[in-house]
């Protein structure tokens, strides 16, 4: 084991891992973090804590992560290179680790244009690949990015994101290979709706042997309605929603659409469980966290492995 990360332990045990996410509140409301996290307790192995998602100011991901840690759950610290330079990121990594956070996800982050401070200067001192390199170097070499020794280095289990659907498609596996080369231990993908395309991607990933070097968690997002599916297809950059999904949701009454959306999510998980190289699922239920337990249960991903079971491996 490289770290004490629960996610690393679950993945190493050969279990399919389950993660979900918790977006921190836009204010000093620790109880909101607890409410959201509590919905996920015992249904996931770790909870991603987003970092100023969609470039909107929120409670810092490490602070919300500490709240989640204090609840006996395992946060995944998301960190974007948009808002901090390498000094600030390294100090936050040390700080988060000192408070018990041992897993993180390295991202570049949405452009400030999309948020509530479009006038802000995006930092982008590093990109996501270089952030992965930095966190790995801190852990494995015990060195800061600048080269100096760290007195007691933080040991983070390092994740990165992949979007198999953004174009050019042929570049996407090469980009994953680059993140693996940089040191990513696990990958959480963009929401998978186009299963065929994802299966093709995973085939290419396995052909290159990348599935042996990194754990891939497929991103799952339940659709609340046909309207949401259409919005995701047309308005969200890099999202691939096949027409069949929209038609299927349109085929039932409005009142039944949420249930149909959850069914689609469960069926997707069941089909993707069989795909070589898929080592787990990252369930992003956008403003619908309360449905995560149902999805996990119906997809046959319960019970989550207990701490003591994993210790005996």
């Amino acid at each position: 084991m490289k770290t004490t990360s629960r996610l690393e332990t679950v993945l190493a045990s050969g279990n399919l891992a389950v993660t979900s996410e918790c977006g921190p509140p836009r204010g000093a409301r620790p109880e909101k973090v607890k409410e959201k996290a509590l919905l996920l307790k015992d249904y996931v192995d770790a909870v991603n804590v987003t970092d100023n998602q969609t470039a909107m100011v929120r409670m810092s991901s490490w602070a919300a992560g500490v709240i989640i840690k204090q609840m006996g759950m395992d946060p995944i610290l998301q960190m974007v290179t948009r808002d901090r330079n390498r000094l600030a990121m390294q100090s936050d990594i040390i700080g988060a680790y000192s408070l018990g956070i041992n897993t993180m996800l390295c991202l570049s982050g949405d452009h400030p244009k999309f948020g509530d401070h479009p006038m802000a200067k995006g930092v982008f001192d590093l990109d996501s690949v270089q952030l992965v390199q930095m966190v790995k170097k801190m852990r494995d070499e015990g060195k800061f990015q600048g080269g100096a020794d760290i007195d007691s280095p933080p040991k983070m289990f390092v994740g990165a994101a992949a979007n198999p659907f953004a174009d050019p498609f042929e570049l996407r596996v090469a980009r994953l290979a680059k993140k693996v080369k940089a040191g990513a231990d696990f990958i959480q993908t963009q929401c998978v709706f186009n299963l065929e395309k994802f299966e093709k991607y995973m085939e290419m990933v396995c052909d290159r042997g990348l599935d042996k070097q990194v754990h891939i968690l497929a991103g799952i997002t339940p659709m609340k309605s046909a309207g949401m599916a259409r919005y995701m297809k047309n308005k969200v950059p890099g999202m691939d929603v096949p027409d069949e999904i929209i038609k299927r949701l349109e085929g039932v009454s409005k009142a039944e659409q949420p249930e149909e959306g959850l069914k689609i999510a469960v069926e997707s998980i069941q089909r993707l469980k069989e795909v070589r190289g898929v080592h787990g699922f990252h369930i992003m239920a956008i403003e619908w966290e309360e449905k995560v337990p149902q999805i996990v249960k119906n997809a046959g991903l319960l019970p989550r492995p207990a701490e003591n079971e994993l210790k005996n491996l």
């Binding site: 948009r82 390498r86 570049s108 982050g109 949405d110 452009h111 244009k113 999309f114 995006g122 982008f124 001192d125 590093l126 990109d127 996501s128 690949v129 270089q130 390199q133 930095m134 990015q145 994101a161 992949a162 979007n163 953004a166 174009d167 050019p168 570049l171 090469a174 980009r175 290979a177 680059k178 080369k181 940089a182 963009q190 950059p237 890099g238």
Partner: protein, 222 residues
């Protein structure tokens, strides 16, 4: 070249309104090419200002001068014999020109009439686009001649990010994704393997992170 655009007229008028004798100084270099501050634009702006003050019943003396190169002390010297005849200078050059004038003529206020934008190239008649951010450590040889520092909205050195859609950047449908362009170009050159070489974290000192930059060429010093 360095590109610029004329400031809003109101801002220009506000800056010079306390004065009655103005030198309006253009530049024959970059701002001429991008039609922001050459001889022609000096003439146009002078006419607009005269008309504006005429309507207000004020007479303002505006002298039009276009220097060969406003960022060069040699050409800026041309104003030396006449500078005492003006109360203020309105410069239509880039920020480099404005500062060269301000540095040479310390007792005369200098106001910019243009906003300096970026180092760019002409894409078509009337269209200029950013191409270089002067990072001081050129990567173009590695990226198929397309700059990710200047042309990727997040300056990603190992892009593209997940937001690219049909070859366009997530920030706007009329902005090309630099990394799609780089990938296509590397493919055309048979160099796509190069994409997988990780570009290390950049040393931003040469890009300005190390403080204001300066070139000293000992072989050229007098």
């Amino acid at each position: 070249m360095i590109t610029a655009e004329q400031k809003p007229l109101k801002e220009i008028i506000d800056s010079i309104s306390p004065y009655e004798k103005i030198f309006l100084v253009g530049c024959n270099e970059c701002v001429t090419v991008c039609a922001a501050g050459g001889r022609k634009e000096v003439g146009l702006l002078a006419s607009v200002l005269r008309l504006h003050y005429l309507k207000q019943g004020r007479t303002i003396e505006i002298k039009e001068i276009t220097l060969e190169r406003q960022c060069d002390p040699e050409y800026v010297e041309e104003l030396a014999s006449e500078i005492h005849r003006t109360e203020a200078v309105l410069s239509m050059a880039c920020g480099c020109g404005v500062q060269t004038l301000a540095g040479r003529y310390r007792e005369t206020p200098v106001f910019p009439a243009v906003n300096t934008l970026f180092m760019g190239a002409s894409e078509a008649q009337g269209i200029w686009a950013e191409r270089c951010q002067g990072c001081g450590d050129c990567l173009l040889g590695l990226t198929g001649g397309i700059c990710p520092v200047a042309r990727c909205s997040k300056h990603l050195l190992n892009g593209p990010c997940g937001g690219t859609s049909h070859g366009k950047c997530e920030i706007a449908p009329d902005v090309d994704c630099a990394w799609c362009l780089i990938w296509e170009r590397l493919k055309a050159l048979g160099l796509e393997k190069r994409y997988e070489e990780i570009m290390e974290a950049k040393d931003w000192r040469s890009a300005g992170g190390g403080g204001p930059r300066k070139i000293v060429r000992k072989d050229l010093l007098l």
